[in-house]
C-alpha cells in the first residue's frame, strides 16, 4: 500500500518573497502592471530545477520552458471536476487567441502537470491534455520530482481517501482496505501559474478564471516585462 504525504506549502514562500521585494523597493526594471485578477510577483521567483517527462519530447525541465511564456496547471486525470473545467477554460483561451491575431499577447504554452504519477502515465496524460487543445502538453515524473516542483511553486495538494462517506484520517491511511488503494482523490490548488521566458514564476492566476481576463492580464504582464 503506497501513500504519498501532501506537499503542503501553499503560497506562503511566494507571498514572503513578494512582500520583501515590495518593502525593499527592488523593482529591477519590471514595473508591476495593473491586472484584473492575476497576482503579479514584483520579482519573479526561481523555479527550482525539476525533471519531468513527456512521451515524445522526452525530458521536460527548465530548458524546455525557456524562451516562451508558459501556463502551468497542476492536477490529475481522475480529477472529477476542477481539471476538466480549467483545461476547457484554457482551451477557450487558446481559441480566442487564435481567432484574434490582432491581440498583442504572445500565446503561452499550456502545461498540465500531474500530481498523481502513480496512476497517470506520461502517455495517458498527454492524450488527456491534448484532447482539450492540440498544443497542450501533459507532463509528469517520479513523485519526488513532482513534489519538488509543486513545493517550489507553492502548490498545495493532498491525497484523500473517503470511506463510508467520511474522510479517512490522514494519520490512519495505512488502514485503507485492500483493493481501495487506488480510490483516493487529490485535493489540489486550482491556481494557474504564469512562467516567464526565463523559466521563472511571474504571476499567479487564482480561481475563478475567465479566458478573456487571463488573456488581458497576460498581455499586460508581457508588455511590462519587455
Amino acid at each position: 500500500m503506497k501513500h504519498q504525504s501532501s506537499a503542503r506549502s501553499f503560497s506562503f514562500p511566494l507571498l514572503l518573497i513578494a512582500s520583501i521585494s515590495l518593502l525593499a523597493g527592488c523593482d529591477q526594471g519590471f514595473k508591476i502592471p495593473e491586472t484584473e485578477s492575476a497576482f503579479v510577483l514584483p520579482e519573479a521567483a526561481v523555479v527550482e530545477g525539476f525533471q519531468l517527462s513527456h512521451p515524445t519530447l522526452g525530458e521536460f525541465n527548465l530548458d524546455s520552458i525557456k524562451g516562451k511564456w508558459s501556463l502551468f496547471f497542476f492536477g490529475y486525470t481522475r480529477c472529477p471536476d476542477v481539471c476538466p473545467t480549467e483545461l476547457f477554460m484554457m482551451s477557450e483561451m487558446m481559441k480566442q487567441i487564435e481567432k484574434n491575431p490582432a491581440l498583442e499577447i504572445q500565446a503561452p504554452q499550456v502545461v498540465f502537470i500531474s500530481l498523481d504519477p502513480q496512476r497517470d502515465t506520461p502517455e495517458a496524460l498527454q492524450q488527456y491534455a491534448g484532447f482539450y487543445h492540440p498544443s497542450f502538453i501533459g507532463v509528469t515524473g517520479v513523485q519526488s520530482a513532482v513534489d519538488q516542483l509543486s513545493k517550489s511553486m507553492g502548490v498545495y495538494y493532498e491525497r484523500v481517501y473517503h470511506l463510508n462517506g467520511k474522510i479517512l484520517d490522514p494519520a490512519s491511511q495505512k488502514d485503507v482496505p485492500e483493493g481501495l488503494e487506488d480510490s483516493y482523490l487529490v485535493n489540489h490548488s486550482a491556481s494557474i501559474f504564469l512562467i516567464n521566458p526565463r523559466g521563472e514564476l511571474q504571476a499567479i492566476h487564482r480561481p475563478p478564471h475567465q479566458p478573456d481576463v487571463i488573456i488581458r492580464d497576460i498581455t499586460s504582464i508581457q508588455n511590462a516585462w519587455r
Binding site: F10, S11, T77, R78, C79, P80, D81, V82, P84, T85, F88, E92, R119, A124, Q127, Y128, G130, F131, Y132, Y156, V160, H162, G165, L185, N187, H188, S189, A190, S191, R206, P207, P208
Partner: protein
C-alpha cells in the same frame, strides 16, 4: 400531412424529454455529460433538479446503462484556492426549491467508463429518489460552453 404533423409532434416530445423530466414532484431539466478525453477515468454529469412538492426530497443513488466501474455523487468545495472533492451519500432538493448540479458544485461522477461517450451521444441514467421513486434521465454529451445557452432554453420551458 397528418402523419407529418404526428412526426413533428413526436420529435418535439422526444426533444422535450431530453431536457425536462418530472416524476413525483422532482423535475429534471437540462441534463448533460461533460465531453471528456477518450481515456478519461471520470465523467461529470450535470442537471437542474427542481422539487415542486411539499416534501423534501433527495437523490440517494444513481445508476447508468453506461458500462462504468461505479457511480458517485460529489460536491466540489473551494477553500482558499484549493478545490476539494467530497463524495456525497445523497443530493438534497428541498421542498419548492432546486439544486443545480454544475461544474464546481454538486455533480454526478461516472468512474472509469469502459468507453467514453462522444459529443452528441446520450447517456441514460436512473436517479433513485428518497421517496422510493426512480427517475430516468437522458443526458447528452456536450462541451461546458453550451451550458449557459441550454439553461436559458430550459428556463423558457419551465412548467411551474
Amino acid at each position: 400531412m397528418k402523419s407529418c404533423i404526428y412526426r413533428a409532434m413526436g420529435a418535439i416530445l422526444l426533444t422535450l424529454s431530453a431536457f425536462s423530466v418530472a416524476a413525483e414532484g422532482l423535475m429534471v431539466t437540462n441534463p448533460w455529460v461533460r465531453s471528456a478525453p477518450p481515456n478519461a477515468p471520470a465523467l461529470g454529469v450535470f442537471m437542474m433538479l427542481k422539487n415542486h412538492s411539499d416534501t423534501d426530497l433527495s437523490v440517494v443513488d444513481v445508476r447508468t446503462t453506461l458500462e462504468v466501474n461505479r457511480v458517485e455523487m460529489h460536491r466540489t468545495m473551494m477553500t482558499d484556492d484549493v478545490m476539494m472533492m467530497m463524495p456525497q451519500e445523497l443530493i438534497p432538493v428541498e421542498a419548492h426549491s432546486s439544486t443545480e448540479l454544475k461544474p464546481g458544485s454538486w455533480h454526478i461522477m461516472l468512474i472509469e467508463p469502459k468507453q467514453v461517450p462522444k459529443m452528441g451521444e446520450t447517456v441514460h441514467l436512473t436517479l433513485v429518489l428518497s421517496n422510493g421513486f426512480e427517475q430516468m434521465v437522458a443526458a447528452v454529451v456536450r462541451q461546458g460552453e453550451k451550458m449557459k445557452m441550454m439553461e436559458d432554453h430550459s428556463h423558457k420551458m419551465k412548467m411551474d
